[in-house]
């Protein structure tokens, strides 16, 4: 039984189709990247998959979905709200508990955010905010991570650290990526989307960025 499975699925918003007859399977343990020009349907496909495994998946949404006036600590902690009672969560909201700070610390230090733990997220740069959103997903943990351009605002060096952390924490990873180089380095299966259809679906092994030129810039 595949973790994710779509058979001739067409999905649209308000009657306008975005995805056309998509058929694909993703098994547990795979690392997959969706690539393709903007508007190809990557985000829609990712949220369709998220709806399939709501219970098991952690999500890094494209727009981060952070609470701007809460601190980095609280935003990351939100990944585990489901593990505690509301009373405990409220206590930790009003007065950050030492044991939760210690639990969050290794996650944020992996992402280079340790110094910013107490800062409201609204005061951070775009890249720092995006790393906080990744931090929340890492802290939540689980079997699958679904990331919609999770490093689009992070600088190249940090990007690699973030993707390494993601790969180390989750057995299954599905990402929407526009940076083909990073996709080749950190995933083992590439699915090319264009105009809401699957254009290609192949292993990354032996693939070079130049091989995809024809996909991005058709003659």
């Amino acid at each position: 039984m595949a973790l994710f499975e779509l058979t001739r699925a067409s999905i649209g918003y308000n009657g306008t189709p975005v995805l056309h007859e998509i058929t694909l399977q993703i098994e547990a343990g795979e690392r997959v990247a969706f690539v393709g020009p903007s508007g190809a349907g990557k985000s829609t496909l990712l949220s369709t998959l998220f709806a399939q495994q709501r219970e098991r998946a952690a999500l890094v949404p494209q727009e981060y979905a952070l609470v701007k006036n809460l601190s980095v600590f609280h935003n990351v902690y939100m990944g585990r709200l489901h593990r505690h009672s509301s009373a405990y969560n409220l206590l930790n909201l009003m007065h950050p508990l030492a044991r939760e700070i210690e639990a969050v610390r290794p996650v944020v230090s992996k992402l280079g955010l340790e110094e910013l733990l107490g800062k409201p997220v609204g005061e951070l740069s775009g890249g720092q905010q995006q790393r906080t959103a990744v931090g929340r997903a890492l802290f939540q943990g689980g079997e699958v991570l679904l990331g919609d351009e999770p490093v689009s605002s992070v600088d190249p060096l940090q990007s690699r650290r973030v993707l390494e952390a993601i790969n180390a924490a989750f057995p299954t990873v599905v990402l929407a990526m526009h940076d083909v180089g990073l996709a080749l380095d950190f995933t083992d299966r590439l699915i090319g989307l264009k105009g809401g259809r699957v254009e290609f679906d192949r292993p990354t092994q032996g693939l070079r960025a130049a091989d995809l030129d024809a996909f991005y810039h058709p003659a």
């Binding site: 727009e63 939100m78 585990r80």
Partner: protein, 494 residues
């Protein structure tokens, strides 16, 4: 050339108000209005603070009722905001806030008697209805995406407190603070129906013509409102809560027999009380009762309420357009704007009811004092908002000056905001118009007050119900008009 819809609407309102002026009673019935004004002016410049202990106690009671009532209303309103998507809650809230707090006070006086609970409930009930609506709107405006990114199985309460509340917190706090200022005005006015707040003392000083005491009391009230930001700190809230409770604590002399009697007997139309329901004479008497109520009180009261509301609305609009330049950097320098601010702060801090009371002493009971009072108070509120809005507009360096600048550069830019605020205020003006009747202007409040004097509680209740329906109607009409003219504002002015 065709004119815009806003222009045509404005002209229609202006024309209707001028037409209605011919039907309105604007007479001055006092014998020496100018001499009286002179004595008031003299009092204003010779405030008497000698009996400071009485003044401070009146002020403390005003704050106590305001704080207690607003806190209770905010608490209940917050809970109702959680279920505001339910139709029954929305309708119920619209209904309770359509009845003015002074009318609520009159109702609770009948049910509970004259005791602290009456004052608290009179503020808390209508405020809860307003808080529920505005809190729900503020919470709805928050970004919903953090909610969707939460792990599956997050407890609802945790989700709310982490993903929703922090985003709205500052808006909720600002709005609650603003309503506390409104609550101070409401609490002051409750004194006019017998509660021991500012209005009570004001009325007794007025009756003996002691205008120096009046001035002292009002000055202290302005200082209280002007310094609200200084003393109303979140940290001090528990202190104020305890202080209010201690201050207001008193015997609650409510008897259950009274409460029961109110609901089972007094609100029942008089002809039906204990009468045989099978008897045709009973129903004939009821028909007579209803017809009498409709033609002698409800109809004339409603007509006068609408006439006064429309004139006061247009007068408010005209005054706003004259006043907002007083605090606008496009028209005045710093000293001029400071003077403008003082004028607007005093006008908007004085409740309409107190302004109307003062002008009524001068001119006697007609629509004139009510129109002037409503225009001064509401014109100052909207003038303040529009003036501030105009300060956010940047003009080109070579923009014309004076009247040309007003007509060509500033007015066209602020006009949609101005109309939106004015139409928001429409329902507030109508609600106030209703209660000004208690002072003797023949709006619905006048007939409510007479019904109480005659101990005809059934009539009182149906007339108050009618004011609520009128207010709900005008609110719906205003919303419709704003939608049609595409008028929106960002600020909340309830």
């Amino acid at each position: 050339m065709t004119h815009s819809a806003t222009y045509k609407t404005s002209l229609a309102f202006l024309a209707s108000a001028i037409l209605l002026l011919f039907f309105a009673d604007l007479g001055v019935s006092t014998l020496h209005p100018w001499a009286e004004l002179g004595r008031m002016a003299l009092g204003a410049i010779t405030p008497n603070f000698l009996s400071i202990d009485i003044l401070l106690h009146a002020l403390a009671m005003t704050v106590g009722f305001a704080f207690g009532g607003v806190a209770l209303g905010a608490g209940v309103g917050f809970c109702l905001a959680m279920v505001f998507h339910l139709r029954i809650v929305r309708v119920g809230c619209a209904f309770v806030r359509a009845i003015h707090e002074l009318f609520w006070a009159l109702i609770f006086l009948q049910v509970l008697g004259l005791n602290p609970l009456t004052g608290l409930m009179a503020i808390a009930v209508p405020y809860a209805g307003t808080f529920a609506k505005v809190y729900a709107e503020i919470l709805e405006e928050a970004d919903h995406s953090p909610m969707r990114a939460l792990p599956a199985g997050t407890p609802l309460l945790s989700a709310f407190f982490f993903a929703r509340l922090p985003q709205s917190w500052s808006h909720l706090r600002a709005y609650t603070g603003y309503r506390l200022e409104c609550g101070l005005r409401s609490s002051a006015v409750l004194g006019f129906v017998g509660l021991p707040t500012l209005g009570y003392h004001l009325e007794s000083y007025f009756q003996v013509g002691d205008y120096s005491q009046v001035a002292a009391l009002l000055f202290l009230f302005y200082v209280l409102i002007a310094t609200l930001r200084v003393w109303m700190r979140p940290r001090l809230m528990p202190l104020y809560a305890i202080a209010s409770a201690v201050l207001l604590y008193g015997p609650i002399n409510t008897s259950w027999a009274n409460v029961t009697r109110f609901f089972t007997r007094e609100v029942v139309p008089a002809p039906l009380r204990g009468a045989p329901l099978g008897d045709a004479a009973t129903w004939h008497a009821l028909g007579h009762w209803a017809g009498d109520l409709a033609t002698r009180q409800a109809l004339p009261g409603a007509i006068n309420t609408v006439v006064l509301t429309q004139i006061a609305l247009v007068a408010t609009g005209v005054l706003t357009l004259l006043w907002f330049p007083l605090i606008s950097r496009h028209f005045l320098g710093r000293p001029g704007r400071l003077a403008g601010h003082v004028l607007l702060v005093v006008s908007r801090s004085t409740p309409e009811y107190i302004l109307a009371y003062v002008f009524l002493q001068l001119w006697g009971p007609s629509m004139l004092p009510a129109i002037v009072a409503l225009a001064l108070h509401n014109g100052a509120i909207i003038g303040h908002l529009i003036g501030r809005y105009s300060n956010g507009i940047d003009l080109r360096p070579d923009a014309p000056r004076g009247l040309n600048r007003y007509g060509y550069e500033v007015l066209p830019r602020v006009y949609p905001q101005f109309l939106a605020f004015l139409f928001y205020r429409w329902e507030v003006i109508m609600r106030e118009t209703g209660i000004l009747g208690i002072l003797g202007v023949r709006t619905l409040g006048f007939y409510v007050d007479s019904a109480i004097a005659e101990i005809r509680i059934d009539r009182m209740m149906y007339l108050i119900l009618l004011t609520a329906l009128l207010n709900i109607g005008i609110d719906a009409f205003s919303r419709n008009l704003r939608a049609r003219l595409r008028l929106t504002t960002t600020a909340k002015v309830e």
